[in-house]
Symmetry: C2
Subunit: 408 residues, 2 copies
């Protein structure tokens, strides 16, 4: 079927022709409601009139940036990569991905499970909700997705198939290249923090060549290092969560990139939330929970990644019997240590870019009191700088925590 942007009426007509959706709703009447404040896409909740608990989510991409309008074209093919990534991740580990009811690359549309009992994690964290299973869940998610789409598990040709499926996700990769690694650290029209021009802190950052040189090294890694299939935008706004369950959504930035990028994105967002609680709520108990969570996420990721690896002896990289066991263990530990280091570097870039670049995070850009916001920005930049300058020298997760704690 040719692409057509659907509205609330045509959407229900479209869905009525899909067997799996008919079977889900039975003979119920359906109602569509536009939800979400998506920057990029249209999101609808489709519910049964007779039984409102029965609901699905429909997400459709339009060939422009929704929050700006048709004058900012952005290929709707981004949904193609989101669909492929959702399917790929679901096949690896279904428990952290919403059930898919229907996908259409032609229509740039996906129909999936409605997560009615979950909130966007960023909001939950800002409200001070402790998710006791989160570190367990997200470390499983990240270690499985990264390991099982890497050359440490796949054979050479399987890896190339994944590269081919995601290689053309170029518009969204370029958004990251530009916005995360370049424009946020120089005078640029996209920087939408109104203070930048006359802000001495911003000018100091823009002139910090030691920092920016390291950012450039990390940008080069982002562009050329094809370790594994990434989510590509793994912040706490891409996580739907409650006490018991964790879902990762919105992988439209998916591509084959460096191991540390997703982990770094998550780390950056947890630290940003920590800063919010230091500066705004001053809730020390929650700050401590966040620090413990960061430690658990990183250490559990490392352990689980190594566990998956120990279960698979042959891959594109490894031929059984090539190394003796002692050397193999040492090699793998060094390998995973380097992933952690790299993720600290990426976390630093991600944190710093949120301060003055386009699309700040709610925890910092959203602080209404000007002085408090400046305090939070300063703290974010201090941590980000240490992460970026020193990521190769940081040898333990405790050192990460020290940097975060000492910045307050």
């Amino acid at each position: 079927m040719d692409y057509k942007k659907l509205d609330k009426t045509t959407l229900i007509e479209y869905l009525s022709n899909i067997a799996k959706i008919k079977s889900y709703f039975g003979s119920d009447d359906l109602i569509a409601q536009e939800i979400g404040d998506g920057n990029l896409n249209y999101v609808y909740k489709i519910s049964s009139v007779q039984n409102p608990q029965k609901a699905l989510i429909v997400k459709q991409a339009v060939p422009y940036l929704r929050c700006v309008g048709e004058e900012f074209p952005l290929g709707r093919e981004r949904m193609t990569y989101e669909i492929r990534a959702l399917q790929k991740f679901y096949n690896i580990l279904p428990s952290f991905i919403p059930n898919l009811y229907h996908t259409s690359e032609d229509m740039s549309l996906v129909v999936m499970e409605y997560l009615g009992n979950h909130v966007i994690m960023r909001k939950g964290l800002m409200d001070g909700v402790k998710y006791k299973n989160f570190s367990e869940h997200i470390s499983t998610y990240m270690s499985a997705m990264l390991f099982y789409t890497s050359s440490l598990y796949l054979c050479s040709s399987e890896k190339r198939v994944i590269i081919a499926q995601f290689n053309s996700n170029m518009e969204l990769c370029k958004l990251t290249e530009d916005l995360v690694f370049s424009f946020a650290f120089m005078e640029h029209e996209t920087n939408d923090n109104a203070n930048v021009k006359n802000n001495p802190e911003a000018q100091k950052l823009f002139a910090d060549m030691e920092f920016k040189e390291k950012v450039l090294e990390l940008k080069y890694r982002f562009m050329t290092q094809g370790d594994a299939l990434l989510h590509g935008d793994l912040h706490t706004g891409s996580i739907m969560i409650n006490e018991n369950e964790t879902y990762v959504i919105d992988p439209e930035f998916a591509f084959v990139g460096p191991f540390g990028f997703d982990i770094g994105a998550l780390l950056a967002n947890l630290v940003n939330n920590y800063i919010y609680h230091v500066v705004v709520t001053k809730d020390e108990d929650f700050q401590n929970w966040l620090l413990v969570t960061i430690k658990e996420v990183m250490e559990k990721f490392r352990d689980k990644f190594l566990n998956f690896w120990s279960e698979h002896k042959e891959s594109a990289l490894l031929v059984e019997g090539y190394l003796d066991n002692e050397t193999l263990v040492r090699y793998k530990e060094k390998f995973v240590k380097n992933i952690i280091k790299e993720s600290i570097g990426f976390a630093g870039c991600k944190m710093a870019r949120r301060v003055y670049g386009v699309a700040g995070v709610e925890e910092i850009r959203g602080i209404e009191d000007k002085n408090l916001r400046a305090e939070a920005e300063k703290m974010a930049l201090k941590i980000a700088r240490e992460f970026v300058i020193n990521y190769e020298k940081i040898n333990s997760v405790d050192e990460i925590l020290e940097i975060v704690k000492n910045a307050g």
Copy 2:
């Protein structure tokens, strides 16, 4: 046209339908002669009967490894990548690539300029011929091909187009992964040096875990680091040369890989030739010429690569104005220094794998005297080991030369 393996008769019939070839030969009668000792493909020389100086080369791939036979299948699609690479490289810098008269991905066939006044460089070097323009030519070739197919020049989407064009060259990439980085350093049926089983030197290499761990790091780079479009097999057997001209042929292993791999392959082959002249001909004058050539190749590569870079301010990596000039110069110098280091590591892998693995080089495997061959092998392994273990710490081209000279 559907694929069909051509013979001397059907080939002439096939060529008679191609306008550009008809125009080259005019109304002359044509004769086909099978030439070359290709491991992989069939190569024919097509000449004019009336004017034998007029000639072209036809290369056709068959869906198996020619030197073994149909029982060793190998996709003829390798010619697709050779054609694409020849065209791509020709478009960047035509002077080092044979003129193409006709290509057909369907027929896995290419028709190109006959290089009648050139010899395979390996043979020329073994005969002690000094090619005074070689370092100038090959440094231009390598710096241009690597720079202009990298994210230092291309924009993000252009780079992805090249990745897409070569990503599926998986069979040949896998040959390199297996043969260069794994099988040659362990007990494996492909190792065709008859001595391996009872050779204490081979057993020592196979048990050298420090060396093999570093090889594994380099293998991982080879598999995942997408810097630029590589020739993929840049040894002195892929170079046709005379006093005035240098041509690079046979890029069927082309793929987007690490900057240092082609440079490393060339370095390895020049050092192997040096070893031959130390052990067999004992021609000190030629040894010195080789050392000077190595130095010139590496230093000219570095300078020319930096020159190309200085001519282009914007790319996928760089946004103009992001770094101040001093930092940019430092960043670029460090970047190119890391390319040189990496190439030393790859050179070590390439040298070491030729000692016991399949497809040795003529300079070492071809030495008939058993003791001299053992001496050459030992010298090759000594240099290779130092290259592989220390490549990250080698800071100048002179240090490379010291390692080579001290191994004799």
